[in-house]
């Protein structure tokens, strides 16, 4: 029995479970395709360590079948998780490409099938740990699949890193966390690639299951910290969100007007919400629908609208960012909780600008946010 290995399995599973819990809470608040598939991926990476229980519990070479099947049953989740990672990244785009996502699951299915074929791999006990060697066809499939996942995700990670590095918008702790997460993921990926090679390197640490699990644990706990510190980090964008307005529903009096873009001309908030209330009545009659106007799309902009108890809010962006709707609802809820008693009395509430900057800090220009601001953890 490998005590260190078992401890690492427990640590790895616990780290994964913590990140799953956090991702689930965020998904409940910000219901977007990105968080949904990130949640599924984290579930998969949480299940993966359980497969290594067989490897660390059983050291009898005669029990090779039990070890192989037991490990593989849980390793399957990891391949599906990689498909979910590709899906999550696609859902950050304006128009997710369903075909790219489905191809990743196709590759995952091929690898799952081949991993269960005895002719494609061999498991042996080398006196220290269980060693899996893979035949050429399976190696080709691994290479194609991993390359596909890397090609789909690297541009996304680079884009996030570029936004993080720009100025002081994200604090140094978020930058360090993100870098560490990249290192952990890169190590896991390199270890996997070397592990798939015909001959093992002498760098035992890279292929030893304990080393692999250590970095999987690190990766998942870092994702937890990033989600906790800055869940909207992955939606980092500048110049894509233009304006946020909150208007008193009763008389269309603008209460909050926040401009994300310095060069933007003045937005007439009361006209936007006026359009909303006018069209609502007409179209409810024409379409026989009881729904509120939720979104206006022009050739250039997308206006997302949400209705609170006493206020109506809208946010203008130049592309459809999935997270904006739930964030706007959240913003209105925070606004009414903070200023509920003042909404009917005041004609302007500029002090809410700080809260807007906190909630939407991923979209703030550095010139608007020269000092590092800690993002308020407003959702859990």
């Amino acid at each position: 029995m490998d005590i260190v290995g078992l401890a690492l399995v427990i640590i790895s599973f616990t780290c994964g479970a913590i990140s799953v819990r956090t991702a689930f809470k965020i998904y409940k608040t910000l219901e977007t395709g990105f968080f949904q598939y990130l949640l599924y991926a984290l579930v998969g990476f949480t299940m993966l360590p359980l497969g290594y229980l067989f490897q660390f519990f059983i050291t009898d070479p005669a029990a090779v079948q039990v070890v192989t099947v037991g490990t593989l049953f849980f390793v399957v989740f990891a391949y599906i998780s990689l498909g979910c990672i590709v899906a999550a990244v696609e859902y950050l785009k304006k128009r997710p490409n369903e075909l790219k996502i489905d191809l990743s699951f196709l590759f995952a299915g091929i690898i799952i099938a081949e991993r269960f074929l005895p002719a494609f791999q061999e498991t042996t006990w080398n006196g220290s740990y269980w060693k899996m060697t893979f035949k050429f066809p399976l190696m080709i499939t691994f290479a194609v699949f991993y390359l596909y996942v890397i090609v789909m995700t690297i541009p996304f990670l680079m884009r996030i890193w570029k936004h993080i590095r720009e100025g002081q918008k994200f604090g140094s702790d978020v930058r360090r966390l993100f870098l560490l997460m990249i290192v952990a993921l890169a190590y896991s990926a390199i270890a996997l690639m070397i592990n798939r090679g015909e001959s093992y390197s002498n760098l035992d640490i890279l292929v030893h299951p304990q080393g692999f699990l250590l970095f999987v644990s690190l990766g998942t706990i870092l994702i937890y910290y990033i989600l906790k510190e800055s869940p909207t980090l992955f939606f980092s964008s500048t110049d894509e969100i233009i304006h946020l307005g909150i208007v008193r529903t009763k008389d269309n009096q603008p209460l909050v007007d926040y401009s994300f873009s310095k060069s933007e001309k003045e937005i007439q908030s009361f006209l936007v919400t006026g359009v909303q209330s006018t069209l609502k009545t007409i179209f409810q009659e024409a379409i026989q629908s009881g729904e509120e106007l939720k979104q206006i799309r022009t050739g250039r902009d997308i206006v997302t609208i949400a209705i609170g108890r006493n206020v109506t809010g809208f946010i203008i962006a130049i592309r459809d960012i999935e997270v904006l709707g739930p964030l706007l609802v959240h913003t209105l809820s925070e606004f009414e909780n903070k200023f509920g008693h003042e909404i009917l009395a005041r004609n302007s509430i500029p002090e809410f600008d700080e809260s807007v900057e906190s909630i939407f800090h991923f979209a703030i220009h550095d010139s608007q946010n020269p000092k590092q601001k800690k993002e308020e953890r407003l959702w859990f």
């Binding site: 075909l99 996502i101 590759f107 299915g109 091929i110 007409i282 629908s289």
Partner: protein, 371 residues
């Protein structure tokens, strides 16, 4: 001689699938509906599957014959992917496609492909009459499971289309028979090909399957060419289409889809939409004309032409709707540009109703529902 005939037949099938696939991808570019992309991919992978017959016949009794047991499983992998795309396209034809189901289907397809590379699960023997393929139990189980999933996903859509076509037998008699021929020949050819896979090409089993496949491909091409939205029938719950003359802001054409005249006159709807568009241009100076107003599932979609713009009101919306409206406006302006500045609000373009009924023919399903 049988083998030579087989070579010709398999080549014909490959050649026939390609135009249908191209047509589908063109429809996707035009209408941006994932259904067409996946349906085109189905036809494309079908051609790869068929090429396994072409290649095995071509390389029998040649220097490359010994490589056939290695090459054929790779091509047969396309048969799995082909089924996956077909089932996924059926899911995308629905109003609210369940993407988790589609992911699951492709994992299953991948498992089928992976199993095909295991010699004990799929053995390929070269005989005088061609390649003999034996599938092991795991592959048979996965294939049956995929067929069951396919039936569960596709049957409701196909039955829905046939029921819709049966509502007005006189109007849709030709397309109804064509659709039944299309689906029937497709089902029979898939079953015959699955059976033919086990027999060498020279045994003749390929020919029976090929006959049905060619009928399937020909009818499919015709349906896509003449009635491209048939598969997406009743996806939308359309209410009204109004074409508005830009200068005056008055409606010049109106088509009511659901047969129920709402209490609101089109002139009032048009007036409010026009003023909303003007208000939005003032409110957001840097923006352009409004194109969509989304009320949850319902929407008002606008499309800007040169002299007119169109509004379509629907209880469920999609990008396909916007694409169809764009095509309608383009055709209206081509047909009536010289009359576009009519400003007396009289609807002069009743003959344009036929154009609407052509573009939206299968979205008129709600009007065919019994009272």
């Amino acid at each position: 001689m049988v083998l030579n005939a087989g070579l010709v037949v398999s080549l014909i099938i490959i050649v026939c699938t390609i135009p249908v696939a191209i047509k589908d991808f063109k429809m996707y570019n035009q209408m941006r509906s994932d259904f067409f992309r996946y349906f085109g991919s189905f036809y494309f992978t079908l051609s790869i599957w068929m090429s396994s017959y072409f290649i095995q016949i071509l390389f029998l009794d040649t220097l490359f014959e010994s490589h056939l047991p290695t090459v054929i499983p790779w091509l047969l992998g396309a048969s799995w992917v082909c089924m996956g795309f077909l089932i996924a396209s059926g899911e995308f034809a629905k109003k609210n496609p369940n993407r988790s189901v589609i992911r699951f289907i492709f994992i299953f397809v991948g498992i089928g492909v992976g199993f095909s590379y295991e010699p004990s699960f799929l053995s390929v023997q070269v005989t005088e009459l061609g390649v003999l393929i034996s599938e092991g139990l795991p592959i048979v189980i996965v294939r049956i499971a995929l067929i069951i999933i396919g039936v569960i996903v596709l049957a409701p859509m196909l039955i829905g289309i046939v029921r819709m076509l049966n509502k007005d037998p006189k109007r849709y008699s030709r397309i109804r028979y064509l659709f039944i021929v299309y689906v029937g020949s497709g089902v029979v050819s898939i079953l015959l090909f699955m059976n033919a896979m086990k027999s060498p090409v020279g045994s003749g089993a390929l020919f029976y399957a090929s006959a049905f496949t060619i009928v399937f491909l020909a009818s499919g091409w015709y349906i896509l060419h003449k009635h491209p939205t048939l598969f997406l029938a009743a996806r939308h719950d359309l209410v009204d289409l109004i074409i508005v003359e830009k200068d005056s802001g008055l409606p010049v054409f109106r088509y009511n889809f659901d047969g129920v005249e709402s209490g609101i006159q089109p002139e009032i709807v048009t007036a409010f939409v026009t003023s909303a568009r003007i208000a939005l241009r003032v409110a957001i100076p840097t923006s352009s004309e409004a194109e969509h107003f989304h009320f949850g599932e319902s929407s008002a979609t606008m499309n800007e032409g040169l002299f007119v713009y169109g509004i379509i009101l629907s209880r469920t919306s999609s990008d396909l709707l916007a694409s169809l409206l764009r095509l309608v406006i383009e055709e209206f302006e081509i047909s009536y540009w010289f009359k576009a500045d009519t400003s007396d609000g009289v609807y002069e373009f009743d003959e344009f109703r036929e154009v609407i009924e052509r573009y939206f023919e299968f979205d008129l399903y709600p009007t065919l529902l019994p009272d």
